[in-house]
């Protein structure tokens, strides 16, 4: 049973109302909102945590695998310098792109909107 079904089962009549009896805990809009909130929080946090993880990996590699980081790279001396520059680019991209708040194509966001649309 998807969130859409849960939402539809709240309606007095129409598709899915009979399913309300099958489903024990009464589903509410708050379930969807909670799922949305978790989803957005996850969406916002994942890239930042990835940046932190990547940076810590870079620090560990630099300090304990110095040979790997000093392998030559044409034009930029070594792997370490190249990875450092790439992180600058990555941080800038993360900063300017920012978390998206577009709910088209978002499964939970779509479920919230759909029942309302179908009434029209």
């Amino acid at each position: 049973m998807t969130y859409l079904d849960e939402l539809l089962s709240l309606r007095q009549n129409g598709r899915g109302r009979h399913r309300a009896v099958q489903h024990k805990p009464m589903p509410t809009t708050t379930t969807v909102v909670a799922a949305l909130r978790t989803g957005y929080a996850w969406l916002g946090r994942t890239p930042s945590m990835a940046a932190l993880g990547g940076f810590l990996l870079y620090v560990l590699l630099s300090s304990y695998l110095g040979e790997l980081m000093s392998l030559p790279v044409p034009g930029l001396f070594n792997v370490g310098v190249l990875l450092g520059l790439l992180q600058f680019v990555g941080f800038f991209a993360l900063a300017t792109r920012g978390p998206r708040t577009d709910c088209r194509g978002d499964p939970h966001g779509g479920e919230l909107g759909e029942p309302v649309e179908s009434y029209r």
Binding site: G44, R45, P47, S48, A51, L52, F55, L56, Y58, V59, L60, S62, S63, Y64, G66, M69, S70, G75, L76, F77, N78, G80, V81, G84, Q87, F88, F91, F92, L94, A95, T96, G98, P99, T101
Partner: protein
């Protein structure tokens, strides 16, 4: 090597004009004597780009720009990693904490923490941690201001440094007390634009001098640093030993988690108008910080290439004058006028950076004293707005005077350890407290107090007996040796201690524990 007279005169004129202009702005943007929200947040009227630049301005302090460029110039690779960790710190704060912080808080860190756990103890602890983190940082900034101004103006007398500290300190008290949050924000924006312009000009000049080839710049830096291939590898700052590697790791952890959690940065988040405005201003803040950080990296490398290790360390062992030396070396290509203009423009940008960083820090510390300690703890929330604002302004004066006197007294000490202390407190006490109270439902008041006090106590204890305070030639007390903690920053130990004490403090059932202790005590007593 002394500065030419024309460059010094130009610098002095520019400094006076800038200081007056900033003061005028603060007076124009100043608030009414009984308007608390205006003083603390400027009514959240700043647009997202401006608010973002103000956050970045507060974050990119004078000590950050000068000491980081010095470390890049002297240690190369290690310095670049430090620049990256500084940027990442702001990125994490802005992406993970800014929105919840803005929604949870009103003016200060105490507001954020006391929202879920109201009480005088929480507000008192928040204020104490704010002061312990801000005052050392303020001292460093004032001390840097003194040495840099004497260097730019070319005065070498011992009393001159103290006089420069007093002048900068007096200006700082004026800006913070008159302008409040909005006035200092406007000055921060001007400073960011000036810093951006001056460093862009120097970066372009450097790159054109090396025919736009990073390889040429890096080879020249490798030669100039005198370290050879080690300049482009980790290990120059703390040494290649196992302890040096651990120190490097510890320093990066402290900076990543602590630099952006300092109260004067988190306080700026509260002046965003709403959640979406905060989101947009964070993009501006981090974006501009990344650009400035990239410029600082290029300028530091160019200082190693064009000025050379020997000249930099002869002027300042930590390399904090390397930017000024670089601008002079570049200006030598364009005799008299070009030299003066370059020197004065980077000097002006750094002067504004110095003024705004000290004003922002004083404002954050004084706001916390007035709002958390006076209104929240002493008066238990019963203070009038006019009374609280008066206390805030008098506290700015008090904190400013204390900082000026202390900075003037210790002007010849190596205060780098105080920056590390501030970052470590940010990482070990403030960061765990904010993360737990914003994201963990099981966090309790006892846990919060354990995090704030335990984390801070751990940092202060370990830092006092670290090798950055005594026992090494570059330590705070080079002639004494009472160290037993082998590292220079405490992050690798104190961050886990801070997080763990918050978790333990929340898990332990204090009432049962106290009851059991009393019961055990009754029969014996």
């Amino acid at each position: 090597m002394t500065n030419s007279n024309s460059a010094q005169t130009a610098a002095l004129v520019i400094f006076s004009v800038l200081a007056t202009l900033a003061m005028l702005l603060c007076i124009l943007a100043g608030s009414e004597p009984d308007d608390l929200a205006d003083f603390y947040t400027g009514y959240r009227t700043l647009t997202p780009p401006r608010n973002g630049l103000a956050i970045a301005g507060d974050y990119v302090s004078a000590a950050t720009v000068l000491s980081t460029s010095g470390i890049v110039a002297l240690s190369g690779y290690d310095g670049v990693v430090l620049v990256l960790s500084t940027v990442l710190s702001l990125l994490l704060l802005m992406r993970l904490l800014a929105e919840p912080l803005r929604n949870a808080g009103k003016f200060t860190m105490g507001d954020v923490l006391a929202r879920r756990m109201p009480g005088r103890a929480v507000r008192g602890a928040a204020c104490a941690v704010t002061l312990v983190a801000s005052l050392p940082f303020l001292l460093v900034q004032l001390s840097v201001a003194g040495s840099l101004l004497t260097f730019i103006l070319g005065i070498s007398a011992d009393g001159a440094k103290a006089a420069c500290i007093c002048v900068v300190g007096a200006l700082m008290i004026g800006y913070a007390a008159v302008g409040g949050m909005k006035g200092t924000a406007l000055v921060q924006i001007i400073k960011m634009v000036m810093l951006f312009g001056a460093s862009l000009a120097i970066t372009l000049l450097v790159l054109s001098r090396f025919h736009w080839s990073p390889t040429a710049l890096l080879s020249a830096a490798r030669e100039g640093s005198g370290a050879g291939d080690a300049y482009l590898r980790q290990g120059l700052e703390f040494g290649p030993s196992a302890r040096g590697r651990l120190d490097f790791l510890s320093a990066q952890i402290s900076v990543v988690l602590g630099a952006a959690c300092l109260p004067h940065v988190t306080m700026r988040v509260h002046s965003g108008a709403d959640a979406s405005a905060v989101r947009r201003s964070t993009s501006w803040a981090v974006g501009s910080t990344v650009v400035i950080a990239l410029f600082v990296t290029v300028m530091g490398t160019a200082a190693a290439a064009l000025v050379g290790n020997q000249m930099i360390t002869a002027n300042d062992p930590q390399g904090s004058t390397s930017l000024m030396l670089l601008s002079r070396a570049l200006g030598a290509d364009y005799p008299s006028l070009g030299e003066a203009v370059l020197f004065a423009s980077i000097g002006g940008a750094i002067f504004m950076t110095l003024l705004t960083s000290v004003a922002g820090l004083t404002l954050a510390a004084a706001t916390s004293v007035a709002h958390d300690l006076f209104a929240g703890t002493v008066r238990r929330g019963q203070a009038t707005e006019r009374g609280e604002l008066a206390v805030a302004r008098w506290t700015i004066l008090g904190i400013g005077l204390v900082a000026i006197v202390l900075a003037a007294l210790v002007r010849n000490w190596n205060l780098q350890v105080l920056i590390a202390t501030a970052f470590c407190i940010g990482a070990s006490a403030v960061a765990p407290a904010l993360v737990y109270s914003l994201f963990w439902k099981g966090f309790t008041r006892a846990g919060l107090l354990c995090t704030l006090l335990g984390g801070t106590a751990c940092v202060v204890l370990l830092m006092t007996f670290s090798s950055a305070v005594s026992g090494t030639p570059h330590a705070l007390f080079p002639t004494h040796d009472f160290h037993w903690f082998p590292l220079q920053t405490t992050g690798i130990v104190s961050v886990p201690v801070g997080f763990l004490s918050g978790w333990l403090g929340s898990r332990v059932r204090w009432r049962t524990l106290v009851g059991a202790l009393r019961e055990a005590d009754v029969p014996s007593g």
